[in-house]
Symmetry: C2
Subunit: 249 residues, 2 copies
């Protein structure tokens, strides 16, 4: 059986307070492609944030002097810069108009993952979910309540070092471990395996992007036919390299 990936089309505009897992389940079923046991449901973080009310009205933000000066210099909105700084644990790189931060969650990304596009209104910024693992668990629970044992990944679109172009990666997970370890296993010739651990969660998130697209407003995709083991304790934490082990931070 091939691996299959399809988008969940026809989702309504997501408002704060909505039960996202229930909505996904209902819409997928209405599309004739209900979520089933073993599926992996990949949800774009932006709709998770909207459902959780993780948005900021920029008019309510009082930028610091630091935010105002830097923003003026580079033609940026000082209120957004202030929001970016509030979402950051620390600044990893600041060069010209580029601001790479480490978020409070531990993600290294541009602008703390704060997004001003597709926010539903001008003057509003969408933050990353406060606890993307908890978001994923809530969606997984809602899907389970509808009868499907599905893993859930919350994804976002991040840049990388060294390579141009962004890719979708996992920022939250529920039901399955994000990393597949090969440590101690040997190849057919008896060599210890060179690849020690694969971040399948990121590969799954990127694969889901291929059907979601960023312009097509399909913020949820289902991956069917990928084998995974249920692990209720799974979080994204194993993917976040500790700064002490990181040669590029």
């Amino acid at each position: 059986m091939p691996l299959e990936i399809f988008g969940v089309t026809g989702l309504p505009e997501i408002e704060a307070g909505i039960d996202l897992g229930s909505v996904i389940s209902t819409v997928a079923a209405a599309n004739g492609t209900p979520i089933i046991d073993g599926d992996i449901v990949v949800v774009t973080s932006k709709i998770v944030s909207k459902a959780e009310g993780r948005t900021v009205e920029l008019a309510t933000v009082e930028p610091s002097s630091f935010a105002r000066e830097w923003s003026a210099r580079w033609g940026k909105d000082a209120a957004i810069t202030e929001v970016v700084l509030l979402e950051a644990k620390r600044i990893v790189r600041q060069l010209g108009p580029i601001l790479i931060t480490e978020t409070h969650h531990g993600f290294v990304c541009a602008n703390s993952g704060v997004d001003q596009s597709s926010s539903g209104a001008h003057g509003r910024a969408v933050l990353l979910p406060a606890d993307p693992d908890a978001s994923a668990r809530a969606i997984r629970s809602a899907l389970a309540a509808k009868g499907a044992n599905a893993a859930v990944i919350v994804s976002d679109t991040f840049g990388r070092a060294w390579r141009e172009g962004q890719t979708d990666i996992a920022i939250g997970i529920a039901g399955m471990q994000p990393i597949l370890s090969y440590i101690g296993q040997v190849d057919p010739h008896g060599h210890e395996f060179q690849v020690q651990a694969l971040c399948t969660a990121d590969e799954l998130a990127g694969a889901a992007e291929l059907v979601k697209g960023n312009l097509s407003r399909v913020p949820v995709a289902v991956i069917r036919g990928y084998s995974w083991e249920v692990d209720e304790s799974a979080t994204i934490a194993p993917v976040l390299r500790d700064q002490s082990r990181d040669l590029f931070r």
Copy 2:
């Protein structure tokens, strides 16, 4: 129609000089899943290297003093270290036993992508293909000769900054551009799009890994149902961030 991804199982052990594209085409057809127009065929670089004879007998390598000293200190094979250095344009980071290099192609990765596992014999190292775009073009041509207009990606398994776990990414491409640009497009609310360019080639390579696996000896996967435009001039070059634009090198 969902996106479908399946592995091409039953490939023979790949020897130097083999016409890889023909073999893939023949085996896929024999499996009852012939390559068809519009497919994207993702080929693990290791079998490309083997087909192209990009292997080195370690007994023939004369390590430099630098390679010998460092290898002795960290319990490494000096001949492999020498091969890694020969494959490098420069060393990006060298800390403890870790050696991150920029290859002559411009890839930033551990050990110049040199692999000692699954080499078919002890004492042999497998290098990255000399020109992975040319490798991809040759496979694409062979598939075309068998009647299928398929894009080809040569993939490898690389680590990243900031995140644990490796992922499969594209190191060579033929027939389609590796990056999908959204520059100048606007979202449904009229905002310019925050994501400017997606490296779909890397997402496709990662998606293919999900069916290939690293232990299962399925080094080729086919992605069906992903829309792409034919571009015979495509190369991986747009993915390689120039050092002058890179904040992490």
